[in-house]
Amino acid sequence: MEKTLYQIFKTFFKVGILLLGGGYVILPLLQAELVEKRNWIDDNELCEYYALGQSVPGIIATNTAIFVGYKLKKTAGAIAATIGITLPAFISIIIIAKVIQEIIQLEFVQSIFWGVGIGVLILIFLAIKEMWKKSIVDKFTCAIFFLVFTLSACFKAPPAALIILSIFIGIWIEYQKKIEHGENEE
């Protein structure tokens, strides 16, 4: 299928509509749309963009969309893909936000929200489990996890400060390695 900006927008708009309950289902959706139906990229490329999407800050689903959009049609493609994947979320919240403020006062709606709140807890737990599998690979990463967790949960440290702290730790580790490596060579 032709890679026009409109087609790119439409494809990601469709994926945006089908995305429910967290960005973690985006991979199979993109596989069906981009690889199987449209042949725009292959499986390996998609997996690479998905992995890269997790390696940069922001929302994984949009990050992956931006990577694929850029690959297809440079910056214009990236913009088309971003608007496409964001628009369904934006429209549905705008529609719902107005209504919800009225109906949330109703008792049975409150009960449903109470339940969904618990459901969200399990989704967050599953997200943590998934992230844990991918990120805690040794004692050191485990230590970072507990350091950040403790500072955030017990001391209410600003999240951005903790992220900056771990960026510095990452740079420092590599710097140390370089020094050691350099000494070994001499």
Partner: protein
């Protein structure tokens, strides 16, 4: 002025949240604490709505929080500014993809950022757990937990079951 503040706060979320849509939650809770644009209870409801509406949760919840703070214009600003940092970063990385993938410092930083993002989300999870749970909630949560152990299920399964259980529990005044 609220619009400019909104832009700054959400740009900062987009720039520092690491590990997917739910990774924006620690920042949104922090905003509730500091800026008081919405309460943590309202945020919990927003997250619930965001999970059952189409689109990435991170986008939904940003749109919602923006709306709550400053109406439709607020949601437009919040959504745009939460995506803007990753947009700029991804475009730059796409241009230097090969160097980026093989740079040792990049790898090392990603290696330390992943557990940090995970730790932040875990702190939010614990916080939400402590603030929202009662005995019936604990039972529902335990049930969902065991359901998650037996097989990998669609997120909608958990939300549908918990909405239904919530509705039933409401009839018996168990939701507290």
């Amino acid at each position: 002025m609220i619009y400019f503040k909104l832009f700054l706060e959400f740009f900062h979320i987009g720039l520092f949240s690491f590990g997917g849509g739910y990774a924006t939650l620690p920042f949104l809770y922090h905003i509730a604490d500091v800026q008081k644009w919405y309460t943590t209870k309202e945020l919990t409801d927003m997250i619930a709505v965001s999970s059952i509406t189409p689109g990435p949760v991170g986008v939904n919840v940003a749109t919602f929080a923006g709306f709550k703070t400053a109406g439709i214009l607020g949601s437009l600003i919040a959504t745009t500014s939460v995506i803007l940092p990753s947009f700029i970063i991804v475009i730059i990385i796409s241009k230097i993809l090969e160097q980026f993938k093989h740079n040792k410092y990049v790898r090392s930083v990603i290696y330390t950022l992943k557990p940090a993002g995970c730790g932040l989300l875990a702190a939010v999870g614990v916080d939400m757990f402590i603030n929202n749970i009662n005995i019936p909630g604990m039972i529902l949560l335990a049930g969902l937990f065991f359901a998650s152990l037996t097989e990998k299920r669609d997120p909608l399964f958990y939300l549908a079951v918990s909405a239904l259980v919530g509705l039933i529990a409401g009839f018996f005044n168990l939701t507290g």
